[in-house]
């Protein structure tokens, strides 16, 4: 098929085009029936044709396809919502590392220690802006490095998991740089961390994404020049990513991801087993896996009531810190 470019179209005289249109105008608009005479006017197989002459344009208007200009994309927030969405409050007041760890038996829990540690977290947050991010989002982190040029070094990666309580909160960033997979574990509250940028805020259903090590490498290859995407205002709900990641062959897995509990949702794990192996793996899962933990109510950690108390406490802590700073200065 002769694919004429737009520049070549202009070469044809417009009188010729008029003649063509008069005879074949009804045929131009249906791409199914294409005579060689009309094909030259057909610009890359589209129904509408970019012709400069007004005469031709007017003719085409009568027979042009109903082209509706798409609506301008509106901003996500129209200013009507003023309060935070329940899941996305100020991370200073409530964040996942404020929830105390589960320690059994109960009298081993030192509540004073937890309260003091949360206060220290707030002090650090007043100095460095630690944004909200979840496992699955892409972060850029600048760290103090005495041996690097400018005493700083920057690393970009996807957060695979976030663990720990209080000042010991860690998160893992993974990136594939020049074909080499690199993972770095950073401590969130370390004084060495200088700056956090959330390049893309994503929230996955799973909180532990370490199976991305044995999955499609596209998910973890992030260029260091990636620009930050527009931040979602905290009045909007963050959509949870429910897609499924394609894994490498089962023989190449470094870990039996399908035996973990809670079972990962965002990955195609069971689809890699042949039918006979699938039944065997299921039996093994039931015997030696952690499926029993799903209904083991005593081993569940119920943190639903903790959010309110912690936000209350952190508000009080903010006031306390202000008072103390005033006194000192």
């Amino acid at each position: 098929m002769n694919d004429y470019s737009r520049e070549q179209l202009i070469i044809f005289s417009f009188s010729d085009a008029w003649v063509f249109l008069n005879r074949y105008c009804c045929i131009i608009m249906s791409t199914r029936i294409l005579t060689p005479a009309v094909r030259c006017l057909n610009y890359h197989g589209t129904e509408t044709v970019n012709i400069i002459s007004m005469r031709c344009r007017n003719v085409l208007k009568r027979f042009s396809s109903s082209f509706v200009q798409p609506k301008r994309p509106t901003l996500k927030s129209d200013g009507s919502k003023t309060s935070f969405v329940p899941g996305r409050e100020d991370p200073k007041l409530f964040s996942s590392e404020y929830i105390p760890p589960l320690v059994r038996p109960e009298w081993h829990r030192n509540k004073l220690k937890y309260r003091l540690e949360r206060m220290d977290c707030l002090r650090r947050r007043n100095v460095v802006n630690i944004p909200e991010f979840y496992p699955g989002s892409i972060l850029a982190v600048t760290v103090y490095d005495p041996h690097a040029a400018g005493q700083k070094s920057r690393f970009v990666g996807r957060c695979l998991y976030r663990d720990g309580f209080g000042l010991g909160c860690k998160f893992l960033l993974r990136n594939i740089v020049e074909g080499e997979g690199i993972e770095i574990v950073y401590q969130l509250y370390s004084p060495v961390m200088l700056k956090y940028e959330v390049l893309r805020l994503e929230k996955w259903l799973d909180t532990d994404l370490r199976y991305l090590r044995d999955a499609d490498p596209d998910y973890c290859t992030i260029s260091f020049d990636m620009p930050a995407e527009a931040p979602l205002p905290p009045t909007e709900e963050l959509p949870v990513f429910k897609g499924k990641v394609k894994m490498k062959k089962f023989e190449l897995w470094n870990f039996n991801y399908h035996k973990a509990w809670p079972r990962p949702y965002n990955a195609y794990l069971e689809e890699y087993f042949v039918e006979e192996d699938f039944m065997e793996q299921k039996v093994m899962q039931e015997k030696r896996g952690h499926g029993h933990l799903q209904y083991d109510i005593c081993k569940h950690y119920d943190t639903r009531q903790m959010k309110e108390e912690i936000t209350k406490e952190m508000k009080l802590n903010q006031k306390r810190i202000e008072a103390v700073d005033k006194k000192i200065s």
């Binding site: 320690v103 038996p105 081993h108 015997k287 209904y295 083991d296 005593c298 081993k299």
Partner: protein
């Protein structure tokens, strides 16, 4: 009564994870249905933990997927489920904490079988059956009277504090 085990373990193995879950499910359902069951001491101690947690979950009375899943697994029968929500939750509405009581039975000595099981009776508090001969604390001793009075004072102080907070 043992309070906790070494290394922070708080749960017994009871023959493996799957077996343990099935066993505890049977015992919990039996307890809800009969309100008083007789088992070995170890099994009774484990079911105590699970029935306390189950009643706490049912008390919260949210239409969560979590509560539905858990209650659907642990209170198997429909009759047990209705009993849990309509009888036990109102009974223990103001009761905070332990909803059950364990009483030890004399050890089971059988001459031929070397089977010295430590049997116990596990019952829900407030049940309509005749009371067990468990030695409860005497509420009329001087210490217990003073302790009860102190408890009431503390509760009253807490109530007035919360009232003043809410009003201001």
């Amino acid at each position: 009564m043992p309070r906790g085990f070494a290394h922070g373990n708080v749960f017994r193995k009871l023959g493996g994870h799957q077996r343990r879950m099935k066993l505890l499910k049977i015992l919990v359902n039996a307890l809800i249905k009969n309100e008083r069951i007789e088992t070995t001491f170890t099994k009774a101690h484990e079911t105590q933990k699970y029935i306390h947690r189950l009643i706490d979950i049912a008390k919260q009375s949210t239409n969560d997927a979590y509560t539905k899943d858990m209650v659907g697994y642990w209170a198997d029968d429909d009759s047990n489920k209705t009993k849990l929500f309509n009888v036990l939750v109102p009974r223990f509405a103001e009761h905070s904490g332990k909803y059950t009581r364990i009483a030890m039975l004399p050890t089971w000595h059988i001459k031929d079988i070397d089977d010295h099981k430590k049997m116990a009776v596990l019952e829900l508090k407030g049940n309509p059956l005749p009371p067990l001969p468990v030695k409860e604390d005497n509420p009329h001793t001087l210490q217990n009277v003073l302790i009860a009075a102190a408890k009431n004072d503390w509760k009253a102080a807490k109530n007035t504090q919360s009232v003043s907070e809410s009003s201001s």
